[in-house]
Symmetry: C2
Subunit: 342 residues, 2 copies
């Protein structure tokens, strides 16, 4: 099986590739070649599975043609300009998130009859916009309030239509906000949800710009990789024409997140969070969804993280930070054995 | 006020233009110039309002630039490849319905600061796809099952985003199926809904390819023009960021439509409908919405036709066919005085 990962240098993309290379296969099929693409090289190791890295611009049609020409059996499309940047740079957001996606889909179509790869498209809960019901069901209208959400939703509509036409076998997964993101903050307005866990664990102060009772829908990086690999291997025939699913997350308040941090890493660590209200971020976050009933995804076998405590522990494990508190953040054996997909 | 109508040669577009020219203004503002655009000339009469007709391809960016350069204050965008043709010609549908719409929006944006026209965009109930609840509310998910519906929904998303960004002041109206369409059938799969009224009234047999209990959501051509002019003049500030509304229609079964025909024009006319089931059309229509609760549109002042009997009478009036039955189809004075907007 030939696999193509578009957007391989991002946090989730890189983690997915590492998982594919570690496993050497997916759903019982060996991976014969992995091609990874992004604006920069992902720097993946060569091993049993040959890896080809290509750097370029997703909005360049010829580049997309080159990526699709070897007819990969499975294509993960994770490339995107994130919410903050797409809001600030209207042209760039549409060029990458809309035109880039459309070029990919059109190049698959240009391969012609007999080629029908599986396409796993990463969408986002940003396809929803306020006002919301308390719990957002699978039938609730997609009314995004950002250019990023608009572009992701257009990608979903295209994916459904191209799939319906038999051009590829598509599935879209709407990722919750990923917490805890490792490394530096990116340009997403949701960055503080990770910052208030990541920075204190690294011994640094973190700023919380919203109130403790702000509720949000989150999933761990490991859960995101689990969603992607499940989408790549599951039977899609039962989904019908609505191929894009809200992924199961945890609905937690900022206060509950900080309680988890205190419980897992100790109150001194949690005390490194400083409350500095920011009206702009408060306003943006007020338009975000808080809770979902992702029934279709659950029925299709997607699983959420078990608890926010587990998310904090997984970050401690991944980042190598020894927590100073009472719980040293050791994952249990089962957590390791299933590759963190919980 | 300078007005631009894109898609002026279609049935609704032409009727809108005739109305604008007859009234010479809209919402209390005089129309100083009317520019009309389509693939063919609309053949509108010159009168008190100067009319400029331009024929061309909406997907040609330079043509769009030429249309927008005079900075019209009000733009009606009705141009579209209809459902049947967009399904048959994938490229043409996306080129006209998606690229053409995007070119228009981008050329408005290219005019820069200080230019913010009102844009009235015609969408369709084809943005909804089965399965449906019995009555579809304003919060129900848009999951189109055709390329046409997909393209219309993408246009809605773009309209919302460009409006949110202050590029123009947009409003989208999801038209019900328009019944009775005058003239020849077009390529829409919904054509029989008009045919079973129009053809018998013209003394011809008509084919009904679905069962009598098939329920659908319809509005008259006059109602469609009323939706457009109301959208052009209403206060949009109360709509919030969701700028696209399901227009109020009548939810009627085919059997009820034929009863109206019999009541208004006589049973001999209604007997000209022959039941010839067509499994393909049956299957297509089974995926169409049957009934809506268009609460937002009603609150915003959009009004539906009063009854299907009135729709039949209006068609008799417009087409000049004298009905042979007991009711000669004379509209009442009020119906004439308000330009048929009921």
């Amino acid at each position: 099986m030939k696999v193509l990962v578009i957007g391989a240098a991002g946090m989730v993309g890189r983690r997915l590739c590492e998982r594919l290379l570690a496993d050497g296969g997916l759903g019982g099929r060996a991976i014969s070649a992995l091609t990874v693409f992004d604006v920069v090289g992902a720097g993946l190791p060569q091993g049993a599975v040959p890896v080809k890295e290509i750097a370029g611009d997703i909005a360049d049609r010829a580049t997309m043609a080159r990526l699709v020409a070897p007819r990969p059996d499975l294509i993960f499309h994770l490339a995107a300009i994130v919410s903050g940047e797409a809001e600030a740079d209207f042209d760039k957001g549409y060029r990458v998130n809309l035109d880039g996606t459309r070029h990919l889909f059109e190049e698959i179509r240009a391969q012609g009859e007999g080629y029908c790869p599986r396409v796993v498209y990463t969408s986002s809960i940003a396809v929803f916009g306020a006002p919301f019901p308390d719990v957002i069901g699978d039938d609730y209208v997609n009314a995004p309030l950002t250019s990023y959400g608009t572009q992701k939703m257009i990608g979903e509509l295209l994916l459904n239509d191209y799939t319906r036409k038999g051009i590829f076998d598509g599935v879209g997964i709407r990722l919750p906000t990923i917490v805890v993101r490792p490394g530096k903050p990116n340009k997403a307005a949701s960055g503080f949800f990770s910052g208030i866990i990541r920075e204190p664990l690294a011994g640094q102060d973190a700023v919380l710009p919203v109130d403790d009772d702000v509720r949000h829908w989150v999933a761990s990086p490991d859960a995101a990789v689990g969603f992607l690999t499940h989408a790549a291997t599951m039977d899609l025939s039962g989904l019908g024409p609505r191929r894009c699913l809200t992924m199961p997350g945890l609905s937690v308040t900022v206060g509950e997140m900080l309680e988890s941090l205190s419980r897992v890493a100790g109150p001194e660590v949690a005390s490194r969070v400083r409350r500095v209200p920011d009206e702009t971020i408060r306003g943006i976050v007020a338009g975000w969804p808080r809770n979902f009933a992702p029934d279709r995804a659950l029925a299709a076998g997607f699983g959420a993280d078990a608890s926010f405590d587990d998310i904090v522990r997984a970050h401690i494990r991944d980042s190598g930070h020894a927590a100073p508190g009472q719980d040293q953040g050791q994952p249990d054996a089962a957590g390791l054995a299933d590759g963190g997909r919980r």
